[in-house]
């Protein structure tokens, strides 16, 4: 009964309005249309986002690292190498780790948990926990699986020669970009350009297929310098010893290949270590041998004499009266350190007489002397390929007063840098040709620019040999077993408006004199341990360095004293052994 009444009740339910079904139907259709419209919209119009999401499921763009080229010495020894390292970083808010794990992390990064925590707290966002750690350490950090701690690949530059060659090689900054020296000037050549490619990956993240190469990586190229790492070491060691022994302010030493002009070594003191250069004074980074000028003093005399010989104003045995050891030009007086009487032109160089050189210079027209100095490379930057090298100062001949011409004869009133000075001596080491000084490894043949007649160059070379022999100014520059030629220089330092009692001691010379192979130029700035003459301060440095260089490179002695084994005796010895 109840069931039947219920059915009856249902049947008797009030009629639905007739339009209700079409409305619902229409409404549903509308919803479908919205869906269709939305899907069409996503498919055809606003598809970028989904497309990207889709691709990112199976395709990746992979960065292809390109390492920076190495810097090598002339025999391929590395002076700068990049190796991969990792940097550890974190988002400070997201680090979530137990205290033990943080302690482990601190131990791996060689710091204390406290310092680490402080570092994380202080930073608001992204923070480096450790920069440039070895890959093994980074692996162990990753092994800790701390949430919020990540690593990234980087390259670190290492300089095996450290402080010895830092002035030439320079260093790179944080992003592997050169900041000083060759690293800076040769950035374009050394720097690699990272590339990228698109690949397909599978579910496990392994690369399964190459799709396209977006950019091919361009690894940096190696750069071969003219430096010889062994000679650089010798130069640096001896220079440091000398600067310290003389309590000097600074010093520089350059070794040139006498025949090609290549710079085989270039050392400066003070220096810095490019591997650990936090808080290095700018001062120590200066490559004094190229970016600082000084008044060369008597090392310039050979060029005065050469100009006079070349123009025919004097011959090598012309006698010049230098007594009484001083000479007055207008209000100024020139002095000789060791007054002598009548000297031949040869002896003017040998004894380094200022008065003699001045008299010879005054017998020449200023233009002739200027031409010689300019041809020898003074007053123009040496163009070695180093940033910031200076040209020095050689004023135009028209502005010279007689006193200036006289002082310039012995290297005052003109400024040069050490490399310029060393390069100028290639004229005497090669029969009159000026070779280009370069920091890059040269080919086999290097052209030179003729500056004077071969006879003149050889005559001056002979005088330079006399200067080193007993009776000259630099007997301390002698090297047993070899013939040496060279010239001392001692110049008062110019400060403000006048000359002071501070000195720059220098020596430039080459050996073996019979067939010159190397030129060594030494400059010691403000020696303060008593001695200040170039012959006492710089000449011994020349002797040790040149001696070591000749021995290291196996140059046969050209003046063996009394211990030559005669051919017969040599044969006898060979039979015995």
């Amino acid at each position: 009964m109840t069931g039947a009444s219920a059915v009856k009740h249902a049947a008797k339910a009030p009629e639905l309005p007739r339009f209700r079904a079409p409305i619902v139907f229409g409404f549903l259709l509308l919803l479908f249309l919205v869906l269709v419209g939305r899907s069409l919209y996503l498919q055809w119009i606003d598809n970028a986002f989904l497309q990207e999401q889709g691709t990112s499921r199976y395709s990746r763009e992979i960065e292809l690292p390109a390492h920076r080229g190495r810097i090598l010495d002339r025999s391929g020894e590395p002076l700068a190498i990049s190796t991969p390292v990792k940097s550890i970083w974190a988002f400070s808010g997201q680090v979530d780790a137990s205290p033990e794990k943080l302690a482990q992390l601190a131990r791996l990064l060689e710091t204390t948990p406290k310092a680490l925590a402080k570092r994380l707290e202080e930073a608001s966002d992204f923070v480096f926990l450790a920069k440039q750690v070895p890959p093994e350490v980074a692996e162990r950090v990753a092994g800790l699986r701390i949430k919020g701690v990540h690593d990234q690949n980087e390259y670190r530059r290492f300089y095996p020669t450290g402080e010895m060659a830092s002035h030439i090689v320079g260093f790179t900054g944080d992003h592997d970009v050169g900041q000083e020296g060759m690293e800076l000037t040769q950035q374009e050549w050394l720097g690699g350009k990272p590339g990228s490619r698109r690949v397909l990956i599978n579910r496990r993240g392994e690369v399964v297929e190459d799709v396209e190469s977006i950019r091919a990586p361009q690894p940096g190229r190696d750069l071969a310098l003219s430096i010889d790492a062994r000679l650089q070491y010798l130069a640096f060691r001896e220079l440091r010893t000398a600067v310290e022994a003389n309590k000097a302010k600074a010093g520089g030493l350059v070794i040139l290949d006498a025949q090609t002009g290549e710079i085989l070594a270039l050392a400066n003191w003070p220096t810095y270590n490019p591997n650990a250069r936090n808080r290095v004074a700018r001062e120590k980074m200066r490559n004094r041998a190229l970016t600082d000028v000084f008044e060369p003093g008597s090392t310039l005399k050979p060029f005065t004499i050469a100009a006079a010989l070349e123009s025919g104003a004097v011959r090598r045995d012309t006698v010049i009266q230098t007594a009484p050891g001083s000479m007055t030009i207008g209000p100024n007086t020139i002095h000789d350190a060791h007054p002598a009487g009548a000297l031949s032109v040869e002896q003017v160089i040998q004894k380094s007489s200022n008065v003699g050189a001045a008299k010879i210079a005054l017998s020449l027209p200023p233009a002739t002397m200027w031409q010689m100095l300019s041809d020898a490379g003074f007053g123009t930057a040496p163009n070695t390929g180093y940033p910031g090298e200076v040209a020095g100062r050689l004023r135009p001949a028209k502005t010279w007063k007689p006193i200036e011409q006289a002082t310039m004869a012995y290297g005052h009133g003109i400024s040069v840098n050490l490399v310029q000075l060393a390069r100028a001596y290639t004229v005497f080491a090669t029969e009159g040709q000026l070779k280009p000084a370069t920091l890059f490894k040269a080919g086999t043949f290097v052209g030179g620019r003729p500056v004077m007649k071969p006879e003149t160059a050889l005559a001056v070379r002979h005088m330079l040999e006399l200067a080193v022999l007993p009776g000259g100014t630099a007997p301390k520059a002698q090297i047993p077993g070899y013939r040496v030629a060279g010239k001392t220089g001692t110049a008062h330092k110019l400060e403000g408006r006048g000359y002071t009692n501070k000195y720059v001691s220098s020596f430039v010379g080459f050996a073996p004199a019979s067939a010159p192979r190397f030129i060594v130029a030494v400059m010691i700035d403000e020696p303060a341990a008593g001695a200040h003459y170039g012959g006492d301060v710089a000449a011994p440095v020349f002797s040790t360095v040149m001696g070591s260089v000749l021995r290291t490179l196996g140059v046969p002695p050209d003046a063996p004293s009394d211990n030559v084994i005669l051919p017969d005796a040599a044969a006898a010895i060979r039979e015995e052994t």
Partner: protein, 90 residues
């Protein structure tokens, strides 16, 4: 006609299967190539590190120290050098 179609179907299936296998082969080879490239890079890295290590061991400072202190070597003075003339000097 039916037989030809069946034959073509068989050929089609064969081709499809061989495509699948060659595709699979290609992927496998590619994965191998990837692995070798990664190894090359690792070796390059190691070479750089070894070079660095070698140049550290061969530092003139160190060589000289060992020569002087452990091997008791010294630089001969000029008096102790005897010059033997070469072939062309005779």
């Amino acid at each position: 006609m039916v037989r030809v179609n069946l034959l073509l179907l068989a050929v089609l299936i064969l081709c499809a299967l061989s495509l699948v296998t060659s595709r699979h082969q290609a992927r496998k080879l590619f994965v191998e190539l990837e692995r070798e490239t990664a190894r090359t890079r690792a070796y390059e890295t190691e070479f750089g590190q070894l070079q660095l290590e070698q140049s550290t061991w061969a530092m003139p400072v160190r060589v000289e120290k060992i020569a002087r202190e452990q091997l008791k070597m010294q630089i001969p003075g000029a008096r102790r050098i005897e010059v033997v003339p070469g072939e062309e000097a005779r």
